[in-house]
Amino acid sequence: MAAVKFEQAMARLEAIVGELEKSDLPLDESLKIFEEGIRLSKNCLKILEEAEHKVEVLVQDKNGKKRIHAYSPDDAADEPSS
C-alpha cells in the first residue's frame, strides 16, 4: 500500500538524516545512505504530488451489488433504508 510505503520511506529518511548527523560513519558509508536518502526524499515528494483528491461513495444497489461513485453533497439519498 502506498501509505505504508510512504510512511516507511519517511521513517527511513528520518533515520538516515539522524544517522548522518551523528557523523560517526565512514565517508563511503555516509555517501551510500546519503544517496539512499536523496532517492527516498524524491520518491516521497513524488508520492505526495501524484496523489489526487477524490471523495467517493460506496453504495450497494438493490440486488446487493456494490459500486463506487463520486460524492456530491446531495448524495444523502444514497443512504440505505432499513
Binding site: L27, L31, L48, H53
Partner: protein
C-alpha cells in the same frame, strides 16, 4: 373452580407493577423465560413470553433487582397463579445502561478490548474510509477537516443509518465491505451526538465484533466527548468527536511537505559538512606528507653537508698526512747517500782542476829547484836520463803506470833544461 379463579384474577389484576429480585431463572428452548420474583416476605412465579423476551436489551440475571409490569393469570394445568411480564426494567439503572454493562463485561472477558489487539493508525493514509450517515453533521465535519489537512486525500464514504433497528447491521456490513476493498488505509466510524438511545447502535454486539474483526485500523468517533460506546472500547483509536477523528487520521499535508523538504536540506547540509570535514582531514594528511617530504629533503641536505664536511676533513687530514710524509721524505732525501755521492762527484772536476793547478805549481817549483840544484852541480849537461811524468786517466784515481802514449825521448837539451819538454797528460775520468 380454577377457571373461575382465573377469570376473577385476570379481571382484578390486569395491569400491575411489582418490584423484586429475579430468581430461579429458566430459559428452555421455546424462548419463553420463567422465573420467580421475590422480596423479603413473599414470592410470585413470573413468565416472559418469547415475543417480549427478545425485545429485552439486557440479559436477565439471577438476583437482579427489577421493576416489572404485567398481568396476573392462572396456569390451570398446575393450578398456579403467575404474572405474565410485559416490561422488565432493572432497578436503579436504565435497561440500556445495564445492557451496556453486561455486553461490555462479556466482550471484555473475550479479550476484545485488550490493548494488544489494537492496530496502529498509519501516519500517512492515502485512502480513508468513513462509515457514517450522509445526512448528519458528522460527515460534514469529517470531510471539512480531512480536506483542510490533506487536500489530496482519497476519501471513501459508506453511507449508513446511524440509529434505528438496522443501523448496527449496516455499520457492520460497511466495515466488512471497506475491508474487502483492500486499498483502504484507515476507517473512521461514527456519528454526531445524541441520547444514549440514539447512540445505541454503536453498543451493539454486531458492530463491536465487526470493528474487532477489521484488518484495517478503525477510529471511532461517536457523539461527544462524554459519550462512550462499546465501539469506542473496541476501536484501535477512540476520538472524542468526528472532527477529532479526522484530525487523528491525517497529518497536515503542508507540514509533511515542509518536513520532507527540511529533511532533504538537512541531508544535503550534513553531507556537505561531512565532505568538508573529510576534505580538511585529507588536506591535513597531504600537509603531513609534504612536511615529511620537506623534512626528508632537509635531512638529505644536511646529510650532503655533513658528507661534504667529512670529505673536506678527510682531505685536510690526508693533506696534513701527505705533508708530513713529504717532510719526512725531504728529511730523508737530505740523508740520501747517492745524492751525497752525486754532489761529491760534482765537485770532483773542480777539485781535480785545483789539484792539477796545485800540482802544476808544485811541479814547476820542484822543477825549478831541481834545475837550480842541477845547474849548481851539473852546469854542462843534464845527461840522457830524464824523468817522465804522466797522468793516466784509465780509471779513477791517479796512476803512475807508464802511459801508452809516449813521446819520443828527450834529445839533448842543448845545454839548457828549459829546452826539454815535459808533457803532462791529464784525462778527466768524468
Amino acid at each position: 373452580m380454577t377457571g373461575l379463579l382465573r377469570t376473577s384474577i385476570e379481571e382484578r389484576f390486569s395491569d400491575v407493577w411489582l418490584e423484586g429480585e429475579l430468581s430461579n431463572l429458566r430459559a428452555p428452548g421455546s424462548g419463553h423465560v420463567y422465573c420467580t420474583l421475590k422480596d423479603k416476605t413473599s414470592q410470585i412465579r413470573a413468565v416472559l413470553f418469547r415475543s417480549t423476551a427478545v425485545r429485552l436489551r439486557f440479559a436477565l440475571q439471577e438476583g437482579l433487582q427489577v421493576i416489572v409490569r404485567g398481568r396476573l393469570t392462572v396456569y390451570e394445568p398446575r393450578g398456579e397463579y403467575q404474572i405474565v411480564l410485559d416490561t422488565v426494567e432493572p432497578k436503579g439503572i436504565g435497561a440500556l445502561q445495564l445492557a451496556f454493562e453486561q455486553l461490555k463485561e462479556r466482550l471484555a472477558t473475550e479479550g476484545l478490548f485488550d490493548q494488544d489487539r489494537k492496530k496502529s493508525i498509519p501516519a500517512f493514509p492515502r485512502t480513508v474510509g468513513v462509515v457514517t450517515s450522509l445526512t448528519g453533521a458528522a460527515i460534514r465535519d469529517i470531510l471539512a477537516v480531512l480536506r483542510r489537512r490533506w487536500p489530496t486525500l482519497h476519501i471513501l464514504i459508506v453511507p449508513v443509518q446511524v440509529q434505528g433497528e438496522s443501523a448496527g447491521r449496516q455499520i457492520a456490513e460497511a466495515l466488512t465491505a471497506l475491508n474487502h476493498l483492500g486499498f483502504v488505509d484507515v476507517i473512521i466510524v461514527g456519528r454526531g451526538g445524541g441520547s444514549l438511545e440514539d447512540l445505541w447502535s454503536f453498543n451493539e454486539e454486531i458492530v463491536v465484533r465487526a470493528i474487532a474483526a477489521s484488518h484495517v485500523p478503525v477510529v471511532s468517533a461517536v457523539g461527544h466527548e462524554i459519550d462512550v460506546t462499546l465501539a469506542d472500547f473496541v476501536a484501535d483509536l477512540r476520538a472524542p468527536t468526528p472532527s477529532a477523528a479526522a484530525e487523528a487520521v491525517v497529518p497536515v499535508l503542508a507540514e509533511t511537505v515542509e518536513r520532507l523538504r527540511e529533511l532533504k536540506v538537512r541531508l544535503g547540509q550534513v553531507m556537505l559538512r561531512h565532505c568538508a570535514f573529510e576534505r580538511r582531514r585529507l588536506d591535513a594528511g597531504i600537509r603531513g606528507v609534504t612536511d615529511v617530504r620537506f623534512r626528508l629533503q632537509e635531512a638529505a641536505q644536511r646529510t650532503d653537508d655533513m658528507v661534504d664536511r667529512l670529505r673536506e676533513m678527510v682531505q685536510q687530514l690526508l693533506a696534513a698526512g701527505r705533508e708530513r710524509v713529504h717532510g719526512v721524505q725531504r728529511d730523508l732525501s737530505g740523508l740520501n747517500p747517492i745524492l751525497a755521492i752525486k754532489q761529491g762527484l760534482a765537485t770532483v772536476p773542480q777539485l781535480s782542476k785545483r789539484l792539477e793547478g796545485q800540482m802544476g805549481m808544485m811541479l814547476a817549483q820542484h822543477r825549478h829547484r831541481i834545475h837550480a840544484t842541477l845547474a849548481q852541480q851539473y852546469p854542462e849537461s843534464l845527461g840522457d836520463s830524464w824523468t817522465w811524468l804522466q797522468y793516466s786517466s784509465n780509471g779513477p784515481g791517479w796512476s803512475n803506470s807508464p802511459s801508452s802514449e809516449r813521446r819520443g825521448g828527450w834529445t839533448g837539451v842543448g845545454g839548457s833544461i828549459g829546452k826539454r819538454a815535459i808533457e803532462l797528460h791529464c784525462h778527466a775520468g768524468v
